[in-house]
Symmetry: D2
Subunit: 337 residues, 4 copies
């Protein structure tokens, strides 16, 4: 950690801070310059965090040398983590496409869609029972009934099912019905929920928040791993920027960054990332090309009557075409679909 | 609602959509142009929402005419809402300053700080027992013990206390100990929590999310009002932008916008909004000047040892000076401090 | 154009506005609703722009129905524009990689780099003589001497050369030495420069500004086309967002959007887009996959001593490897390298 | 400057870098840690910039200790700079309001508006002759004719006039007709223009770019000062964010930051900052309260027929009311209007 002092800090101010650093078991460094004095503190920066040097009125800035995350970092664990999604491995040689409706609306809709995505090559299905919606007047999901439909269809069709969990109180119920939890963008920093999911061993697909830096996403994953659950899949799904041509700005730069910094698998959600049906296919291909381990795609048996996110959901035939078009890109990336 | 059709939409496509609009009890309008056909649908746009016209493959765009919120809007209720914070009225002639530590760390620290802010003129106190922190290795708050300390100090010092609630399961406990709930930026779209708070009658200070448009904040407030709790205070606390000179970008433009669109009181948190101690005072004055109803200020009896947000917390003497400096600005705004 | 009136607008206010619309030769529409009156104006929206209806105190909002650009739009010209870069066609079946140093630093450096990128398969070279730099104390480019070096090397190596123009007064000089103008992100809305370039017939690579929406980029291109130069190549190079892990946020969503809305070719600059050497290759592949027509890549014969942008410049062997790795992705996209 | 090496850097890599640092006349520091080696370089960081240590493949990050600007910094010159705007001092005890139309449209419109703003208390007038417009089909300003009208009206009414310059070739002409140059947001990093203005002694009002950090604005001002012109006035006018309720996000946090870091005067443009007539007054008051030295306000004798920016221009009577309402805030800030 590098501590820059304000111009008016004296030698004795510096000494007092150096004593604090040493008392915390770290190696202190004193670097007087012509315009500023710089201090160093070498060692475990988490210990240093407890010193709160940034609070000091004579400290101008504190810059960490090491990343704030540990368990999720590739330095800690150089080899890729493989996450087992009820028989489907995410993070390995196979590129995994997870597809299905935004929301479970009925048994028929879920079953029809699930069959279509399986026939086209999806390895897992998705469908929300609890839907966070901007407006209280919008469809909020079927709740427990939705979970039961999802569970039944997953069994009948033979696909692992992923579904969103929005609340600590629902964790056990969701765990009983799904093969993986999904944590939505709005809950990426719902730390109580993350800790609870850390006590499960079911995989967690953790979506990046709309205002979250990629390092914030890694810190959120750190919450889950630090509670004991190593089965985390990171998901890029678009951030908020000034651009309004797309619903969000899918930030594919995050993929090589996350793969470089962390051993966790990374998937991409181009449906939410762009919010526009026509752009899902090109961005899905781009996700393959820049190193993603899989995709999360919204497909609906009839998007024109979907109760949520219809304008970004693919028609089943569009999804089938996307899967055919993805194939050579997946091969170019040295993987299989 | 204005529906623009794609160039390849035919007259019979338009007719089919107009029939849907009419069947939903709305007044349809047909406006053929040389390059695009435009449809209108006049009436309650919430009904229209259930038609999901934006999903249709031949619809290019759907633009609402009316705001998506109802209960929070000034059109619905032209007069300012006054929220009673255990005897202190927010939204009226008095400008209300709520001050205290980021986190309750101990009885001593809370008591000392509370006395200082009361002596300087604060009308209510703040202090977190449940702290959402980016890192799992940071101080997470004292939990229930913190609530009890806060409650005890509030009673001893004679100030209403505001504290953050992060989880549905904690709502009753927090309600038993505090005069108002605070919903943090990370939970602004924790809709389950909002609904639960809507069933209370205790005031809710609702902070704007870091990626939330002001209209999203109003929609979040709508969740609380639609469940029956009218006592909502909106809070601007900074958004995420490309600027890194400040921790967040305090968006004071939101104040006149929120006051124009809604009848709810609006307060400003310049401590989180800037993240830098020196900038709290100028931005607090600016908040007064652009029409805010109050402030939320972090003060700590000794920021240099604060367990969270020390670098943005004021020393007690700085807070006292801020209150003195605020006075002529509050008077210029035609209010009292 | 859809004009929503404020709630306090009367029937006679509406009539006055409808008269203005009709007098401008457009078809007026009157749509009274229960909460708002909506007016329509059908016809050429550019004519409508001169009415400045948005200025009227009783107008709440004005929403255009048509895109603000004409000449660059695919509706105007459905077929892809092919731009001839001194014998190299951009926008057709061949995927075009343009590579070279950020800045021309010397004849040796330029020649060595140009030979390396040509050997690896680049179809054109780049190199800046006029460098816009954030700091006045940074290297500002060699100016005219740089242009002459670039011109000489381009001839010797046999590659068309692209170089940045920053000022109207330099246009003729640059035109004499290069095969294409590059307009940098900071000059995307230097409208005087755009108009001047519109009077040339040399191709213009127009980079998206750091705060520019994709529609702003199309409007900037419209300036060039409206002056008579149809040879514009759009370039995505990253926008400013809150994310700091990368220098900019390369917005690949822009590629399918621009290809859908415009007939102009689109290239991607992953070097500026990410600012980090390691991420250039994955984002270059992603650009191919989502439909770009080419790439602009910074390569330096020895990045460790580059006078600008060294940290994002590829070593020649990295560039050669990138070209080999790109090949299967280009083939998957149905194109040749 | 603090240089963090990658984990795979060896002692001899570090030594080579330390030699480079020493050879450049700086004091090198070696700080080996358990996970990373950190190097320091103490001395003039501008010299260090020429070493381009960030380019090195074994360097993970380079963090400057000192600000990149010199001449504009308060450390260099602790006392406030006062800029003389043809008899009106900006940056001193008087709060200076500069008002007028977005564009000079005619002699009548300019004269009427100038008289109105002078009567209401404005100390200088504004009016654009060269208008950068997003669309080539919008009004582009009257050019030289506009400058002549502005000059004539300024003389008749007795107010210094400020006008935008967009191009090096126009600098002399503008200098002949105006009391100060204005550099618009789109030209903040038109470095050639900045250098040219640095050779004048006429004041320059430098507007912050829409994607510019406040430190970028200071670096742009450094260009002007480094060429010899000390008369720079910084102007905050809103940045691009995800928020669409206002045209831009006026970032008032920039005011205390700029006043702390620099000795230059700072003014605020709430007209462009919000883009909405109703929000100009509250944000103008907020600008006073947080420490601005003046305001730039768009006023038009009849905004409903303005050729540009009508929806954000005040009616003369609104401006007069704003000036009356500003007065107590200016007094609260310890200044005079």
């Amino acid at each position: 950690m590098i501590i820059v002092l304000r111009p008016d800090a004296t030698k004795s101010d510096a000494d007092a801070l150096l004593d604090k650093i040493e008392a915390a078991g770290l190696k202190p460094l004193y670097m007087p310059g012509s315009e500023r004095t710089v201090l160093g503190a070498l060692g475990d920066e988490r210990v240093l965090g407890t010193l709160h040097l940034e609070n000091h009125p004579l400290v101008e800035s504190v810059t960490p040398v090491l990343a704030p995350y540990k368990l999720v970092s590739r330095e800690m664990r150089p080899h890729d983590t493989l996450v087992d999604l009820n028989g489907v491995t995410v993070g390995g040689e196979q590129f995994v496409v997870i597809a299905g409706p935004c929301a479970v609306e009925s048994y028929e809709q879920t079953r029809t869609t699930a069959e279509a995505v399986k026939a086209a090559g999806a390895r897992a299905m998705r469908g929300g029972a609890y839907k966070p919606r901007t407006s209280p007047y919008s469809f909020q999901g079927l709740g427990e009934e939705g979970l039961e439909i999802l569970d039944r269809v997953a069994g009948e069709v033979g696909l692992p099912a992923v579904t969103e969990v929005v609340e600590v109180a629902d964790v056990e119920q969701v765990e009983a019905h799904a093969s993986a939890f999904q944590v939505g963008a709005r809950n990426m920093q719902n730390f109580r929920l993350l800790k609870k999911l850390g006590q499960s061993r079911l995989p967690v697909i953790l979506k990046r928040g709309m205002a979250a830096k990629v390092d914030d996403l890694l810190m959120a994953a750190e919450y889950i791993l630090s509670e004991g659950n190593p089965n985390v899949i990171l998901c890029e799904r678009g951030i908020k920027t000034f651009e309004t041509a797309t619903r969000n700005t899918l930030d594919l730069n995050a993929i090589p960054y996350l793969k470089a910094k962390s051993h966790l698998p990374v998937v991409v959600d181009p449906s939410h990332g762009t919010g526009i049906r026509e752009f899902v296919a090109p961005m899905a291909k781009a996700a393959v090309a820049c190193g993603a381990d899989g995709l999360l795609i919204e497909v609906h048996c009839d998007p024109s009557v979907a109760l949520s996110d219809g304008q970004q959901s693919l028609y089943p035939e569009q999804f089938a075409q996307l899967m055919r078009e993805l194939e050579p890109f997946v091969a170019a990336a040295g993987r299989t679909l």
